[in-house]
């Protein structure tokens, strides 16, 4: 499988570049990338689902909201996802489905803490080769 994200060199925190064939896939890949950065994929079951909708006037707000909501599912409720699905309900409204399970430190390997999704240099856009985003996380 083609790598759907890569880490960028960054002075203080954690920056990634995410790729997607479609706009919906870009959002889904961003969600999955965030999960991979926090917890090792191996061992995360696919036994529970969390759904939520996000709406915003532009893609930057939408990307921030989609990721921040998912991050709080982990930080507050302890839910970790293995897979993310994104459905475009309309141009400014997305339905997010996260498939995973409760995080269990005895079974799952924690990699690093992400404290927040920043707006700093946040970028989403469509290029010749598909969709691309740059995201900086506060760690």
């Amino acid at each position: 499988m083609k790598k759907f994200y890569r880490e960028l060199e960054h002075a203080g925190d954690l920056a990634i570049e995410v790729f997607g064939g479609t706009r919906a896939e870009l959002f889904a890949h961003a969600l999955t990338a965030m999960a991979r950065l926090m917890v090792e994929e191996k061992g995360i079951g696919n036994v529970a689902r969390q759904e939520y909708e996000c709406a915003a006037a532009d893609d930057l707000d939408l990307m921030h909201d989609v990721l921040a909501r998912a991050l709080n599912l982990f930080l507050i409720d302890g839910f970790m996802w293995r897979e993310a699905k994104v459905e475009e309900k309309s141009r400014d409204r997305l339905l997010i489905t996260l498939c995973g399970e409760q995080y269990d430190p005895s079974r799952h390997r924690f990699l690093r803490e992400i404290k927040g999704v920043t707006f700093h240099r946040l970028f989403t856009g469509r290029g010749r080769d598909g969709w691309r985003a740059e995201i900086i996380f506060d760690v």
């Binding site: 707000d61 930080l75 946040l122």
Partner: protein, 478 residues
């Protein structure tokens, strides 16, 4: 970028484009040479564009890239018709440092350092998602914490009334509005009081290994060889979520208020707008939470010292020197162009450093000036400074806050590969207890500038002066 040398340690970015004021950077020639291509200087320019900014967009010598505002930035904004910016405070609202003294000398506990480190590491939750330092609080009780700050800690036996005089703002911003804090922020913070967290937060046991100003040191109770405790932490998930909530709210109002943002993370709203007022109430609430957090960590540290060393409170003599915040916005009076103004001073990675005689200082400290605590890295040293009168004229009563990173987290991890940092630090007589080896690598001493160079610049500029240096011997990390 054009940089004009104003004095030996002061450089100016002339006003141009949308800048409302010039930028000013405190730095040595070597620091400036290293900074010239750094995006942090562009951030100084961006901050200079904010409506209502007066004087200069300032950068301290520990300046480095931040989100929107640089870390090490100070912006004083007219309270009457200027803006408030959550990005100018940062995610970790009232991240700060407190210094405690003991009656112990390092030589007295030489044989017990490992036991002490173990006790502190067991007593103070550290690391990712750390919680459970004290019994979980109900939402109603948590709202009292964010409303009353240190007053809550005193009422609940975690602080004494004497502590209050040794904390910036007495450990409570009265403008706190518990209802302006979101449910998510309370959920993230409700089990985190008394926890260090991760990243660059720490508890450091050190000894006074150099005194620069004997009179000032004596006034603060500092003696050579004395064991000290330095705590660096902030408002944990509660503050982080509060910043995130209001970046979103305020970012969406920019167009309505006619504010042009060179960077969305600089989101700002008029101070008097409903959104600005709500943020100020929430920010103050998170600041109060942070003061309680550091207070409870200190309380837990005192107990750990007593248990590990079999001492009673009198023998240990734990006492608070001072507690400073370095991520906050506060209303202060300063003289600008000969006129007294009420300003909202944003300090992001900068420390208040009021000079002698300032009425905001507690009577015990007023003649001396404000103590300022500047942590370095875990291998070298930290500093105790005093704010000087010159700071009031030049930096809105502000100075530096720490060393500043020199390696990115990635670079630090690469540099640490194949090395045993715990062993290396042990050879340097520093005992480390950390929850994560990755964090330890990211926070290795070589990842930071030499903080001595940073405090020297501020001393040469006449803003703050060194009182004492603290050498770490046991460090607890997340």
């Amino acid at each position: 970028m054009e940089l004009r040398r104003i004095q030996d340690y002061l450089w100016e970015i002339p006003r141009h484009g949308e800048m409302r004021v010039p930028g000013r950077v405190y730095a040595s020639k070597q620091m400036i040479d290293e900074l010239r291509e750094d995006p942090a200087l562009n951030q100084v320019e961006n901050v200079a564009c904010l409506p209502g900014i007066v004087g200069y967009s300032l950068a301290m010598p520990d300046i480095h890239w931040g989100y929107g505002f640089p870390i090490g930035g100070v912006a004083a904004i007219d309270a009457a018709d200027g803006v408030i910016s959550p990005g100018g405070v940062g995610y970790d609202i009232n991240c700060g440092v407190r210094l405690l003294l003991t009656k112990l000398k390092r030589a007295d506990i030489e044989q017990h350092v490992d036991r002490l480190a173990d006790a502190l590491f067991a007593a103070i939750p550290a690391g990712v998602g750390s919680h459970g330092a004290i019994p979980s609080l109900s939402l109603a009780e948590l709202k009292k914490v964010v409303r009353d700050g240190i007053g809550w800690a005193v009422a609940n036996g975690y602080a004494t009334p004497a502590d209050v005089e040794h904390i910036e703002e007495g450990g409570c911003l009265a403008s706190a509005d518990p209802d302006a804090v979101s449910a998510q922020a309370y959920q993230r913070g409700h089990r985190q009081l008394g926890t260090l967290g991760s990243g660059n937060h720490f508890l450091e046991c050190g000894e006074v290994d150099e005194i620069y100003q004997p009179k000032d040191a004596k006034a603060l109770g500092l003696e050579m060889g004395q064991v000290t405790v330095l705590i660096h932490s902030g408002s944990r998930g509660l503050g982080h979520q509060t910043c995130d909530d209001y970046l979103k709210v305020i970012g969406r109002t920019a167009e309505r208020y006619g504010i042009k943002l060179p960077d969305r993370q600089l989101a700002a709203a008029p101070t008097k707008s409903p959104e600005g007022q709500a943020y100020l109430g929430a920010m103050a609430a998170a600041a109060n939470f942070a003061w309680c957090n550091r207070q409870i960590i200190a309380h837990l540290a005192e107990r750990a010292f007593m248990e590990a060393l079999s001492l009673n409170p009198n023998e240990l003599g734990f006492s608070l020197v001072y507690d400073v915040c370095h991520n906050i916005a506060k209303f202060e009076e300063h003289v600008v162009d000969g006129k007294k103004m009420r300003l909202c001073v944003h300090r992001k990675g900068a420390t208040r450093a009021f000079g002698p005689g300032h009425p905001a200082l507690a009577p015990k400290l007023r003649a001396l000036g404000q103590p300022v605590l500047i942590p370095g890295d875990m291998g070298r040293y930290s500093f105790v400074l005093i704010g000087l009168e010159h700071a009031m004229r030049e930096t809105f009563g502000s100075t530096c806050h720490g060393a500043g990173r020199v390696l990115s987290r990635h670079q630090a991890k690469r540099a640490a590969r194949g090395r045993d940092l715990v062993e290396e630090l042990a050879r340097a007589k520093v005992v480390i207890r950390a929850t994560s080896r990755a964090t330890l690598a990211e926070e290795m001493p070589a990842a930071y500038k030499d903080v001595a160079n940073v405090v020297e610049v501020m001393e040469a500029a006449g803003v703050s002066r060194r009182v004492a240096r603290l050498k770490p011997f046991a460090v607890i990390k997340g």
